[in-house]
């Protein structure tokens, strides 16, 4: 797994060989990742990749079977040392539906020893002040998500761990969260953001962690990942030649998307030249090959497919 080496940086999260099994199922497998302090780190992977279990491990909710980790400089075994500086939204936000939004936050504020005034400030920030006294059971999914975000921000955290925070939000809500996260990052906070909205992550994150089947496929600066891979577009009038090119790319382990008379291959930049040579050798000389910068979505597909093959 490529792990970027930036020794000069301070890491808010560092894990070494972290593993977690549920019965025979391995949820997290020898995971070594790190997140530099002050960055917005995207945490991506298909469903069941181990993202939520990793988050639960970092929050002290589940116990690791092997490996170690440090969060804000303290080991996982001492969550009481670092959790007061961590805010988290894990999976779908969970609340007491019979209590108001305000009381739900007050329950946690009292438990964590945070000032009561913080509750009002956060309700204002997530634009729920006018519904603060209504029962949470009457809230829409988007409103619950915003209340969940307020809950995560209660401790004014140095590290914010968010699992699908934009789930259920309308486009304005998504833009609002994006701006809020940028503001928080500008204040020096570290944000670990798990999301399936790859386009959103591409805009927002400066660090990426890609997970599949409990293992890290990539962990490093987003620009490093985006630079090392591109999208190669192959065009040809002859379907046979196109099939040949598709087979070459497929055999090399890259994700191929077919269109009318073209192929889109997510691969390293150097593969364009290899493909051109191999195609000519195999009897496909009339291919038009162009190299485009790949999107995060294409890179994700390429890495996950490569990992499975």
């Amino acid at each position: 797994m490529p792990l970027s080496t930036e020794p000069s940086r301070v890491f808010a999260i560092e894990t070494h060989g972290l593993s977690k099994h549920f019965g025979r199922h391995t949820a997290v497998d020898d995971l070594t990742i790190r997140v530099p302090a002050g960055t917005i780190a995207g945490f991506i992977g298909p469903n069941g990749a181990g993202k939520t279990t990793t988050i639960r491990l970092l929050l002290g909710l589940v116990r690791s079977d092997a490996g170690s980790a440090m969060v804000l400089g303290y080991p996982l075994a001492e969550p009481e040392r670092y959790l007061p500086r961590v805010g988290a939204l894990v999976e779908a936000p969970a609340f007491y539906p019979g209590l108001s939004g305000r009381t739900n936050l007050e329950v946690l504020a009292r438990l964590g020893g945070y000032p009561g005034s913080r509750v009002g400030e956060l309700l204002e920030m997530v634009e729920l002040s006018d519904r603060a006294r209504d029962r949470v059971g009457t809230y829409s999914l988007g409103m619950k998500q915003r209340l969940g975000l307020a809950m995560a921000l209660l401790p004014d955290p140095d590290l914010l761990i968010l699992d699908e925070p934009a789930n259920g939000l309308d486009p304005l809500g998504i833009i609002g969260i994006r701006e809020l996260l940028r503001r928080l990052a500008a204040q020096g906070k570290t944000i670990l953001l798990s999301s399936h909205m790859l386009g959103e992550l591409e805009q927002l994150t400066d660090w990426l962690i890609m997970l599949n089947q409990g293992k890290a496929l990539f962990c490093g600066p987003a620009r490093e990942l985006l630079a090392q891979s591109v999208e190669v577009v192959v065009e040809a009038q002859d379907a046979v030649q196109l099939d040949l090119a598709a087979r070459i790319a497929d055999e090399a382990g890259y994700s191929v998307t077919r269109e009318d008379q073209a192929l889109r291959i997510a691969c390293p930049a150097g593969f364009a030249e290899t493909l051109n040579r191999l195609a000519k050798e195999a009897g496909a000389p009339d291919l038009i090959i162009r190299v485009k910068e790949a999107s995060l979505e294409q890179l994700f597909l390429a890495l996950v497919k490569g990992d499975r093959s």
């Binding site: 549920f22 639960r56 929050l59 002290g60 999976e91 969970a94 209590l99 009381t103 438990l111 020893g113």
Partner: protein
């Protein structure tokens, strides 16, 4: 200690829910109704084998407690359901993960929560006894029934002894509910198992092994109250001191078992 107080204060806020207040309301209303029906039967001269003891005790210092104590089984069942459901709901609703991120020292959180829950159960029981007792006193005086023995020093002493044992009984039941909730981590399973155990399982085993079941937690918690006023429950066959000792041991056992299991559990809900 500060974190236990925080957990306690945080828990108190959750009692604002209608579901919680409704359970306490049901305990009060149904207990008062049962007391009224018992009083009405005695005052209206009803006869029958099951009434003989109550009629005999009616004008004694034990009279009032005998009437308001008739709903004890209901109070025990409501307390057990309330504690089990309230704690297990933190898993079922997924709220436990929010709470444990705020307070990772799990035992301190559990101590604060249980302190609040037990206090709520005891206050509900005290309110129920006081309101139903006052109601019966007013009814009796309205019908010209002599209540001097009930309010005498001896009557008060009987009430306080009854109350003390009832408090211990409900603490024991709450500890049992806590352990069941921690082990099942589900409202439906927790409440089902708790009620099935206290209402059915112990009863069935008692038919086969009566000597053994007299030491079972449900029996022990119930019989220590019957010692004070035999008309409100069975008396302990092993004697009060032995039953009291067993009740305390069960409570300690439940608390220790909960304290060993809970910090080691994975919170995946």
């Amino acid at each position: 200690m500060i974190s236990v107080i925080r957990a306690f204060r945080s828990e108190v806020l959750k009692f604002r829910r209608w579901s919680v207040l409704a359970v306490a309301g049901v305990m009060l209303a149904v207990s008062t109704l049962i007391a009224y029906l018992t009083f009405h039967q005695i005052a209206s001269g009803a006869t029958g084998r099951e009434m003989t003891g109550l009629i005999a005790a009616f004008h004694t210092p034990q009279g009032l407690v005998s009437i308001i104590g008739q709903a004890r089984s209901l109070i025990i069942a409501v307390a057990l359901v309330m504690v089990t459901a309230n704690l297990a709901a933190e898993w079922s609703q997924g709220t436990l993960r929010n709470l444990l991120v705020c307070e990772p020292r799990r035992l301190r959180w559990l101590a604060g929560k249980m302190l609040a829950l037990v206090l709520f159960v005891l206050l509900s029981m005290l309110l129920t006894l006081l309101i139903s007792g006052t109601f019966i006193l007013i009814l009796a005086q309205g019908q010209g029934i002599q209540t001097t023995a009930w309010t005498s020093a001896e009557g008060l002493s009987v009430f306080l002894a009854f109350l003390g044992n009832e408090v211990l009984c409900l603490i024991g039941v709450s500890a049992l509910g806590m352990l069941i909730a921690v082990l099942t981590r589900s409202v439906a399973a927790g409440v089902g198992i708790a009620l099935a155990y206290i209402l059915v399982v112990e009863g069935i085993i008692a038919v086969v092994l009566p000597q053994v079941t007299q030491w079972f937690p449900g029996r022990v918690f119930n019989t220590i109250v019957g010692t004070t006023v035999p008309l409100v429950g069975p008396t302990p066959p092993q004697g009060y001191p032995a039953a009291l000792g067993a009740a305390l041991l069960w409570i300690v056992g439940f608390v220790v078992a909960g304290a060993v299991v809970f910090p080691r559990q994975d919170v995946t809900a």
